[in-house]
């Protein structure tokens, strides 16, 4: 693994008295909301993994370890204004954009009511026009030019917004990343290219995946700023993405942000990671878990308590229970519906 030299953006006031989030313009209820979505993301993730291991759902892809990056990014965006073309791990992002726990579970169970695809796609293939989430597919990186196209379209219509697209560090090697980033660079489009570097692409560690030290180093090749940020520091990510949003809205063009964290689970429920990484490495990564780090910070600055935690966990557990139960009972699509929606009626 390459040694990471993290350049944190401005961390706000360093005085003990001013919590970082306030320096960033976040109210206490904002960071509580961020933490809430983070925990919901985590609980859903853990539940789905369990359901898969119990044979109840056929497949799951996990975002465990990347919630800091996702929540930090999502909360810097405006779900009523901006559009996202997320990648398959972005559960935290789509939850903030309006997907419900039930929607996620309907997708996990591949039920007819799944708003993403009616059960046609695997979990993690998010979509909702109502929630400004552009549908994604499985071939990696194809969503990146789509985000550029949405930004272009919005500008042609005079609509002020930014578009966000995410991808793994492995996927930043696909030609589509390069072509889309350059397109956005030439046309100064308000796109946020958000690389969630979790150090692995399935079994391939980043030093056998990336010729460069950092994905962010690629930004200069497209004439945009490249920002490297600790993905386990949710406020640092929030700040970096907020700056990118401002740039975009100001007409200053795109930004490439690389948020470094770790993929705690195997690549997917079909993967076994023991052949390519040590248990020690995974355990070590868990100690930097953004969720723990953020909770400690919130408790430290007095906006969160152990009691809040107990209450939140209880509440969210029942949200996840309800969602699971609902999804499990929901009907499957009719077989003949396979033939629907090839073309417009």
């Amino acid at each position: 693994m390459a040694k990471l030299d993290l350049v944190k953006p401005n961390n706000g006031s360093q005085e003990e008295a001013t919590p970082r989030h306030r320096a960033l313009g976040l109210r206490d209820e904002d960071v509580r909301a961020m933490y809430r979505t983070m925990v919901l993301t985590r609980l859903l993730d853990e539940r789905m993994w369990l359901l898969n291991r119990a044979g109840k759902i056929p497949f799951v892809v996990s975002c465990k370890g990347q919630e800091g990056s996702q929540i930090g990014a999502a909360f810097a965006l405006d779900p009523t204004r901006d559009y996202v073309a997320p990648y398959y791990r972005d559960f935290g992002v789509v939850l903030h954009f309006g997907m419900s726990a039930r929607d996620i579970m309907l997708s996990a169970y591949a039920k007819a009511e799944d708003p993403n695809s009616g059960g046609r796609q695997m979990p993690g293939h998010f979509s909702s026009r109502a929630h400004h989430i552009l549908s994604g597919s499985s071939p990696v990186s194809t969503q990146i030019p789509h985000a550029v196209g949405m930004a272009l379209a919005a500008r042609m219509r005079g609509e002020k917004l930014v578009t966000y697209t995410s991808f793994g560090e492995g996927s930043s090697n696909q030609g589509d990343f390069h072509e889309a980033a350059n397109f956005a660079g030439v046309h100064k489009l308000p796109v946020i290219f958000f690389c969630e570097n979790n150090l692995y692409a399935i079994s391939i560690p980043q030093d056998r995946q990336l010729g460069c030290a950092h994905v962010a180093d690629r930004a200069i090749g497209y004439g945009m700023p490249g920002v490297l940020v600790d993905g386990n520091d949710v406020l640092a990510v929030y700040e970096a993405v907020s700056q990118a949003v401002l740039r975009g809205l100001n007409g200053d063009g795109p930004t490439l942000i690389e948020a470094v964290s770790y993929r705690i689970n195997p690549h997917s429920s079909d993967d076994d990671d023991r052949s390519y990484r040590t248990r020690e490495e995974v355990e070590e990564a868990k100690r930097n878990d953004a969720l723990e780090v953020f909770r400690a910070e919130l408790i430290g600055c007095g906006v969160w308590t152990e009691d809040d935690e107990v209450a939140l966990r209880e509440e969210l557990r029942s949200v996840v229970d309800e969602a699971t139960e609902y999804a499990q009972k929901a009907p499957l699509a009719e077989p003949e519906s396979t033939l629907d929606h090839v073309y417009a009626k």
Binding site: Y83, A85, P115, N116, S117, G118, R120, Q121, H125, S127, S128, R129, L134, S135, S137, P139, T142, I144, P145, H146, A147, V148, G149, M150, A151, L152, A153, A154, M156, R157, T163, G175, D176, E179, A180, N182, F183, V186, D340, H341, V342, Y343, A344
Partner: protein, 327 residues
């Protein structure tokens, strides 16, 4: 009605739709100041400005991918691929994304995208500026493919494509741009996607073809008519969906069918046309279903005698028609 060049009909369709519909715009390599390498978009940047006649970087996957994003957002992009041969880098975006966006979201998102590409040979374009690429896509549900043979159809089909809510590949034969001219109706007409055209009616044999070969087959049919052999000539116009009804009806009518295309034979459009007939009109046939196509070689060479060997022409078609008529 006025007689217009094929290339002008295409440009007019774009211009008229762009005047009516602010969502329509063109993007591609050199479509702006240069007016496209074939001059299809000539004069358009002057009228619509550089945002709606958008010069892009040299990257086909981005051209199509960005257009898909714009289409999903609500625009109606026309993505120009400079030569059909250069659509290959965009295959992933076309097949994995454009073709499947509606299906995978149950219609929540869709992709009103038109991809225009000049294809075809006989113009000294060599291996990579002559290819027919329609067979690469006609197996892909979710796409539509048209390839007009006349100026009138070019205009009407391009309008239809621009109003279609789903992705349409619009293949224009570069050999016809300035060689084909015909009566183009006035006003706001469309030609429906999925309907073939009966070019001439006849009873002795049916020729089914599309693109430039329609004109060569028509010439050949004239030669046969002089000898009292009457040809039923079908111009498919749409490759996907195919007009099964017209195909089957024509096969039934004459009992003899010759399928002609410039593209190489194996796995080409002719295979599906033949299979449709063998499925639905087998017992109406008086002769094996014949295909006359480009040879199964990787592409058309630059060298003049080799290019001529590759390309079909009226004489080669006439020979095949006479052989079939005499069967």
């Amino acid at each position: 009605m006025a007689v217009k060049l094929y290339i002008d009909a295409i440009r007019e369709a774009m211009q008229e739709e762009m005047r009516q519909n602010p969502n329509v715009f063109v993007l591609g390599e050199d479509v702006g100041l240069r007016g496209g390498v074939f001059r299809v978009t000539q004069g358009m940047i002057e009228e619509f400005g550089p945002e709606r006649v958008l010069d892009t970087p040299l990257a086909e996957s981005a051209i199509v991918g960005v257009a898909i994003g714009a289409a999903a957002y609500g625009m109606c992009p026309i993505a120009e691929i400079q030569f059909a041969d250069f659509i290959m880098p965009a295959v992933n975006q076309i097949i994995s994304e454009a073709a499947k966006l509606r299906y995978r979201t149950q219609g929540d998102w869709h992709c009103p995208l038109v991809i225009r590409a000049p294809y075809g040979g006989g113009v000294h374009g060599a291996l990579y500026h002559s290819q027919s690429v329609e067979a690469l896509f006609y197996h892909v549900p979710g796409l539509k493919i048209v390839t007009p043979a006349t100026a009138a159809d070019a205009k009407g089909l391009l309008r239809a494509a621009l109003r279609d809510p789903d992705p349409v590949l619009f293949f224009e034969h570069k050999g016809m741009y300035r060689a084909i001219r015909d009566d183009v109706p006035e006003g706001d007409y469309t030609v429906p996607i999925g309907k073939a055209r009966v070019v001439r009616e006849g009873d002795d044999l049916t020729v089914i073809t599309y693109g430039l070969m329609v004109h060569h087959a028509l010439t050949a049919a004239g030669q046969l008519a002089a000898d009292g052999i009457s040809t039923h000539l079908i111009d498919l116009r749409s490759i996907l969906p195919l007009d099964r009804e017209t195909i089957v009806e024509a096969a039934r009518r004459t009992g003899k069918v010759l399928i002609v295309h410039e593209d190489n034979k194996t796995g080409g459009i002719g295979a599906e046309v033949s299979a449709i007939i063998a499925e639905e009109a087998l017992f109406d046939l008086d002769a094996p279903i014949a295909r006359l196509c480009g040879p199964d070689v990787p592409a058309m060479p630059f060298s003049a005698p080799l290019e001529a060997f590759y390309m079909l022409n009226p004489t080669k078609i006439e020979d095949a028609m006479r052989k079939l008529a005499a069967f």
